[in-house]
Amino acid sequence: MGKFKENVIQPILDCWSLIVGLKITGKYFCKPLITVHYPRQVIDDENLATYGGHIELIGKPKDPAMPKCISCMMCVTNCPSKCLKVVKQKAPKPTPEQEAAMAAAKEAGEKVVKPKAPKNPLKFTYDYTLCSLCGTCIDNCPVKSLKFSNNMYWVATSRKEMNIDLLARLKEQATELSVPAPKTEAKPAAAEKEA
């Protein structure tokens, strides 16, 4: 009797699951769509914020055009795709006064104070064609100067364009931030043009 129940009754009762499945898909059928018709609609800001695009630099809070970056090369060392290139700044040539001070210090047997190189990088380029978006550079940045951008609608037509100068980008963003009005309007307008 137990076998009969297991092999005959149970499969018939299990058929109810078919109805359950149909109910679920039927319910989903009636729900509103969750996709976005791109050229006519754009993603709302809430969802754009969580989008992980290519990486970009973060500016200093007081000077948004200047990256927090200290050119420590941690990102370059850790990048598995070798898509980042950072060039450190060289120490500036000492001015005549500084030279005189250095010479004086040398004569006096004191410690020579050479002018230090500025910490911010001279060049920070990023090849998006190689990047695997693993985020290792972001995790390893000691000063948290890198993040994923939400540059969602970016289109490039050549490999050259995919090689981004992140410093220039940061500067552009800083100027945009100071004049925030056209930014919000420009995006839908650009989207409409593409359509």
């Binding site: 499969p11 898909t25 989903y28 059928f29 769509l33 969750i34 996709t35 018709h37």
Partner: protein, 324 residues
């Protein structure tokens, strides 16, 4: 000569009508299927061509027609190109005996059911020819599966149909329809509920539709028997598949849902047939986007261990009740 013409002309008209009906149905059903699939997955489906993507299937058809017909190396060219034709032509014939309305019947034959059952088996032949002749292992595998599946599912289908004709004492679809006239209570679905369920399940198996689409199983066999077909070779198989779906759903609504008779006495007409057929077609589409594909042994187990005994039991019970 005159009598010959009198018989021939309505048949030619009906044939042309069936072709138009088949083509229109394929367009509408492809659109419905893609829209349905989209909305179940909460995306819009085709949207760009025409208002809400309405002419997308037409454009797809044009695209298919404008593509090159390719015959694979070492394929048996005659059988290879015979297969899609053999798949398509019987479908047109299958529409003939179905009474779509009081006058809207292509051909009044008193063996309509037999004709449909006989000629719908042609699809199995077409599929095995396609799979074998295309010289492709996916094709052969798909064809082998398709044949064992359609042959198996034909038996419970036949037994349920037989139960209905035991009850009515006829094989003519027109007469079966007229016996369900009046109101909804006269429909055979109330007298043969088990047969109805078996018919629906066997219908999925016969038409190679998901969850029983083992013959095409994209994830395992790329496209099964029509892997190698390009252009309208594939298009014909595609249209034939939708044609078989429409035929099966029409036959189902004639046998169990009263054909062109409405649920309330007084209103009858071809639109009832249309409504019922499309309701069944939507159930098929709905099921396709709900249930995962079964495994092949499960597929055959469902048939041989469940449908066949149940259908036989149903037939015997029907015979007993009629005798009493």
């Amino acid at each position: 000569m005159n009598a010959f013409l009198q018989n021939l002309i309505p048949l030619v008209i009906a044939m042309v009508g069936a072709m138009v009906w088949l083509g229109l149905n394929a367009l509408v059903l492809v659109y419905c299927e893609r829209k349905f699939a989209g909305h179940i997955q909460r995306r819009p489906g085709p949207f760009e061509v025409g208002p809400h993507g309405a002419i997308q299937p037409l454009i797809d058809g044009l695209k298919l027609m404008s593509k090159q017909l390719l015959t694979p190396d070492n394929a048996d060219a005659i059988l290879y190109w015979l297969a899609p034709i053999l798949s398509m032509i019987p479908v047109l014939l299958l529409f003939m005996p179905i009474p779509y309305g009081p006058v809207l019947t292509g051909m009044e034959v008193n063996l309509g059911l037999l004709l449909i059952l006989a000629f719908s088996s042609f699809n199995g032949l077409a599929v095995i020819l396609a799979g074998w002749a295309s010289n492709n292992k996916w094709g052969v595998l798909g064809a082998a599966r398709a044949v064992s599946q359609t042959v198996a599912y034909e038996i419970p289908l036949l037994l349920t149909v037989l139960a209905i004709s035991f009850m009515t004492g006829t094989l003519s679809l027109t007469e079966i329809t007229s016996m369900q006239a009046g109101h909804i209570g006269n429909w055979f679905i109330w007298k043969q509920p088990l047969a109805f369920i078996i018919f629906i399940i066997a219908m999925f198996g016969e038409t190679n539709r998901a969850p029983f689409d083992l013959a095409e199983a994209e994830s395992e066999l790329t496209a099964g028997f029509h892997t190698e077909y390009s252009s309208m070779g594939f298009g014909l198989f595609f249209m034939a598949e939708y044609g078989y779906m429409v035929v099966m759903c029409s036959v189902c609504s004639v046998l169990f849902l009263g054909g062109f008779h409405g649920p309330i006495p007084g209103i009858e007409g071809w639109w009832w047939m249309l409504v019922k057929t499309y309701a069944l077609l939507f159930v098929m589409i709905w099921a396709r986007w709900t249930f995962p594909r079964v495994r092949f042994d499960q597929l055959l187990n469902i048939n041989w261990k469940w449908l066949l005994p149940l259908a036989t039991f149903n037939l015997l019970a029907t015979a007993l009740i009629i005798k009493l």
